[in-house]
Symmetry: C2
Subunit: 155 residues, 2 copies
């Protein structure tokens, strides 16, 4: 969770919701309730999720889909808009290189949010996705500021 | 949706929730709200879902997982227990043949629920899954009726 005001980014919270043991419904419930709590605690205005890497193992892909669908449900239930970005877009936006490795992502997330240490890899990925979303919105607003439409183009 | 009392089964409702057009969040929202409405209208006590066939196309498997996760979320939000059955189990229970075809499933669902005509294939699959769940509970209760535990076994 980050706060974005103009070009300023501020760290709010990050973490990892564990689905725990139990049957599928119990695990999806844990994800749903974990995210409900985070949303209730911090009241975000928008949600960004990574467009997932599709695993070569079909069972893993199905499980990932179920978890991802559940996460998106948490946003939908709270009435939040959901944006999606590929890992390439996220890395390009945060590191400036779509093929950056995990350490580079952690490092840049730390720098951009002025954190005292590197966030854990999963949390760094989530924060990077949020930063990518904030960057996109800034670029959008910056590039069109003071411009007007002419023949369908911004001039 | 069916009602099960002893060995009696009664048809309550069936249908297909369409996710429509739009982005992923909007489509999952349509599934969630569609199922919320059905649950609110009929107040089921339990939910049964088919353990899905994993498609050879990873993108379809991911999409299926997202939709399935959303459907299970609807049950979880309503506090309903969720049971899962493979297509093989469902067909075995309803038709008596794990490799029955769609027409046989439709025919047996029609017979077992005394419907005036064959339900549509998707609705028939869902009703068959509910019947499988009801059958399992009947067998479970029948087989233990009047029995007692002795050395960890029912006698």
């Amino acid at each position: 969770m980050i706060e974005s005001a103009g070009t300023k980014l501020r760290y709010v919270a990050s973490g990892c919701v564990k689905s725990g043991a139990g049957d599928l419904a119990a695990r999806l419930k844990a994800i749903l309730e974990g995210l409900n709590e985070v949303i209730a605690a911090h009241g975000p205005a928008e949600v960004a999720v990574e467009k997932v890497f599709v695993n070569v193992n079909p069972q893993s892909t199905l499980a990932l889909g179920q978890a991802r669908g559940t996460a998106i449900c948490a946003a939908v239930i709270a009435g939040l808009p959901v944006a999606e970005y590929t890992a390439l877009q996220v890395k390009q936006s945060v590191v400036g290189n779509g093929h950056a490795n995990k350490e580079q992502v952690q490092h840049m997330v730390r720098q951009l949010l002025a954190l005292p240490g590197n966030p854990a890899p999963d949390a760094a990925d989530a924060l990077a996705c949020a930063i990518c979303h904030a960057h996109g919105k800034q670029l959008g607003s910056l590039s069109t500021r003071g411009m007007r439409m002419k023949n369908g183009r911004l001039v």
